[in-house]
Symmetry: C2
Subunit: 340 residues, 2 copies
DNA sequence: TAGCGCTATTGAAACGTTATAAATCGGTGC
DNA sequence: GCACCGATTTATAACGTTTCAATAGCGCTA
């Protein structure tokens, strides 16, 4: 108890006493203020390192209003396999060592998607926001642009004003998928789309339709279900289509789940993958290499995506204008067909 | 500018002015202190609701030392499909409305697993901790018990002292898996285990071995690879075993990935699932229903797990003793074989 | 009516930081 | 010798909350 003071958590006052400078000087020295003499700065940093000083986040936050927190709105309804894991890993990786921490808040697409954003701004819970599943005129994007609050969206909008985004080129994916299937002689392609409101749905549809038209082949966009529908509903819709007069002989699948469902439907209706129909898919996880029969697929690297989003957000928070802040991940033109 | 005061973020002082009480009174009234007159409390709450008062987290944190943050250490190396997504969804769900937020910090099993924990305690970054992939004598558990810091582990340890945990009964799973395969006439079972250090590895091995011995059948624990090994290494090991003198006719798979790899190995070596061998698996995501051939599986409900972990942590943080705080999810005794 | 004991309220201090404005100091110019 | 200057440093206030110790009010008892 007598020497307890030694183990106390060091604060600016501790450093001030240790160096002989005033608290204010120490603070400014640590922040690298050029108006503090270089020698003083060196002394203070040395003492800080020696005593293991770490600034108190709460105090800094109270004083400056900055939280040192970045929040990810986590889409809860549906998951592309591994999406959350990979994206989060990329984000934490990029933020490692920056002093920022990542909090996760659920984004329930059924509920008001704006509500969590409002709460975060109102209660000052974060300095920046990341979110996914962007709508063409996403209310969150509109709100945040008006509030001039830093964010990066995973996906684009159709607003006129520029905002930071990272996206995967789903139009190119759809085109490539179609031409892959066409090259294999397929003449009637099926597609299950995500919900109508999402921007990437428009990109997928456009890419798919224009490629299909250019190739002069037939197509079918499966009605009444989306990627987020329960598996059995997707299966039912695909089964109905297979039993119809002109079943597709090729499928473009936007996620692993749809691909697996399509594969199951083929099997369950007595069709053989590679013979009666081919499937190509976009995947986030490496599991496709292990699926038999092998499915051709293109990988969306969500770890890299998360990394890029977090880095871009840091830049935006540092004040960079949004005009240059966007990045489109373009899929490899060739589909990986897992090796023999 | 003249009426700008109206839009200022309300603080305790605002409420004090609005109600005529002192700041201290308002604070205590809102915290429900019984020494404040009921009428006063009512008045204050009414004003708080009317003005939309929300306590400032930074200020509260600075004053009390409590962060209102719960941190999840996210195991980055390997993911059981959907694990992260489901677990996180369960956690955020349980914490919704409690005022706690969830931050995510990477837990790299290659690196020092204790390091992030040390940082969190030292810099007071959270009030409680959740983590997975528990080792038999997990250094994080030991450290946190010594520091008397609230946490809930996803998995048990072999320490004598009690600590809060949530776990899945992997021993029961292994037993059930074996008896399922035995009932189908299988006589030589293969198993791929997680890394040796993890507690659940011991549970799986014990359950597997004792069930196998009771049934008087043969077995093979695949050597040199773990669940976390690269897919191709697992595949190579399984393939080698299949080509050996006595290939297994049944596989117990602890995750989706292993199951898919095993299935692929069967296909690639010309064996037929359901004829030459059967696979049973533990799964976290619902995708198994879509795999063909159908694989019998038991589900570990990670959303419920996350929910239970977060709720338990809240109770622990409220001061409940650890002795009663644990919960074992026992698998359904029957394996789901996806319906026809 | 003075004093007591109780309830309800309050003033002030503190948590650790940063920003503003002011102070210190050696040297310069006149 | 005095006012002034630039370069450093410092005292102080403030961010919004909680809590300790003190105060005010008031009905009761002696």
């Amino acid at each position: 108890m007598t020497d307890g003071a030694q183990t106390e958590k060091p604060t600016l006052r501790t450093l001030a006493q240790a160096t002989g400078f005033a608290v204010a000087t120490v603070s400014r020295a640590l922040s690298g203020d050029p108006r503090i003499a270089a020698k003083t700065r060196a002394k203070v940093s040395e003492a800080a390192a020696r005593l293991g000083y770490v600034p108190d986040r709460a105090a800094r936050r109270l004083r400056t209003g900055r939280t040192q927190v970045i929040t990810l709105l986590l889409h809860t309804e549906h998951e592309f396999l591994g999406f959350t894991h990979e994206l989060l890993s990329g984000i934490t990786e990029a933020l490692d060592g920056t002093g920022y921490s990542v909090t996760v808040v659920p984004d329930s697409p059924g509920a008001d998607r704006l509500a969590p954003v409002r709460t975060i701004l109102r209660n000052n819970l974060a300095d920046g926001l990341l979110f996914t599943r962007i709508e063409t005129f996403d209310p969150r994007v509109r709100f945040l642009m008006e509030a001039d609050f830093p964010f990066v969206s995973h996906g684009r909008t159709e607003f006129a004003a520029a905002h930071p985004w990272v996206d995967f080129d789903n139009e190119a994916f759809a085109r490539a998928a179609v031409s892959h299937l066409v090259a294999r002689g397929r003449r009637r392609l099926g597609l299950v789309l995500p919900g109508e409101k999402y921007t990437f749905t428009q990109h997928l549809r456009y890419g798919f339709l224009s490629a299909v038209r250019e190739a002069g082949i037939d197509h079918q966009i499966v009605a009444d279900v989306t990627l987020d529908s329960p598996h059995d509903e997707i299966a039912a819709a695909l089964t109905a289509a297979r039993r119809g007069p002109a079943p597709p002989d090729g499928y473009v699948c936007v996620g692993e789940v749809t691909a697996l469902v399509a594969l199951a439907v083929l099997a369950d209706t007595g069709a053989v993958h590679g013979v009666d129909a081919d499937i190509v898919a976009k995947r986030a996880s490496p599991i496709f290499d292990d699926i038999r029969p092998r499915i051709a697929s293109v990988r969306e690297d969500l770890r890299a995506t998360g990394h890029a989003m977090a880095e871009m957000l840091l830049r935006r928070m540092r004040g960079e204008p949004p005009e240059q802040l966007h990045r489109l991940f373009v899929p490899q033109p060739r589909f990986d067909v897992p090796g023999r």
